[in-house]
Amino acid sequence: MRARDNPFAADRVERIRYRFAGASLDELLTRLEEMNYRGAIVGPEGSGKTTLLEDLHEILERRGRRTRFLFVNDASPLPEAECRRLLSELTPQELVLLDGADAIRRSSWSLFRRHTVRHAAGLIVTSHRPGLLPTLIECSTTPTLLKEIVTDLTSRTRNVSPILLDDLHRRHRGNLRTCLRELYDLYAQET
């Protein structure tokens, strides 16, 4: 199968947006307001934290909020000097969305947390573990969610075996990103 025809190609997967299991997006936004726009999206790898933060980013911008989206991981770290420079540029009207808060050094995080209290309109982060900021929402996945996403990505006439999906979800410990990559490889073998 050509990469462009693979239903699990990265660009197709990226179009899948966050799906709420319980609370709705409106409820989340209300909660965010109640938390004075300071909170953490918490969850394990591949549970949708970044997707949800991106969705929030788009909604907040659409509502006229000024935002600054920062992405940090081991490959794109945030050295302390860079952190200080970013913070010095912040305006009190800006809402900071920080993806990967637990990937920045403790000293930089400390600086970030304190500085944004006074010098930003809010701070929303993603983190693998709770405790950096009050938890806004905990993300998790289920085999049912994986099935829904796979059904949307493949045509409905090509449903992947539910047994395979249950097994994938278990083996990848709920990490939907790696589940979908394995499905990419399975489909790629199709010639």
Binding site: R2, A3, A9, S161, Y187
Partner: protein, 148 residues
């Protein structure tokens, strides 16, 4: 409601590197648009991170609520349109309007052979066969779904 369209001259959608890509764009909206941007670009699709390159673009400020315009871009010498199992490189014309995110895209093929280059492992694949599940894929489909 907005309507954007891209038409290529003579319906041609396969080009040789260095050739000119010419056509016409049309737009209509309920309100005046701020800007339109037409880009000639390539992007990758596949397993890994996406890559993309904009080769030419044409911006029209304050195009009004409706209208049309012609375009003519010269293709570079590469990259060629190609597909393997891990990555495809796709050429396209993309028309975007602001405000909003309305976009229309028209794919083209850029190749010296007149066809997308198929990498090893796909070279023998016939046209139209990619939508038919093969034996390997059938194995990962549920028995009850395999013939669906």
């Amino acid at each position: 409601m907005r309507k954007l369209s891209i038409e290529l001259n003579d319906g041609k959608n396969v080009f040789a590197p260095g050739e000119r890509v010419e056509g016409r764009i049309e737009w209509s909206a309920d309100e005046d648009l701020k800007a339109l941007e037409l880009s000639l670009l390539w992007y990758t699709s596949g397993k890994g991170t996406r890559d993309a390159g904009v080769v030419h673009s044409k911006r029209i400020d304050r195009p009004g609520a409706f209208g049309s315009d012609t375009f003519s871009f010269t293709l570079p010498s590469g990259p060629y349109s190609f597909s393997g199992k891990l990555i495809s490189l796709i050429w396209a014309l993309e028309l975007t309007c602001t405000p909003g995110k309305d976009t229309v895209r028209k794919e083209i093929v850029v190749s010296p052979t007149g066809r997308e280059i198929l990498l090893t492992g796909l070279a023998g694949q016939g046209r139209g066969q990619e939508n038919q599940p093969g034996e390997f894929l059938k194995r990962i489909l549920g028995v009850q779904h395999a013939s669906a």
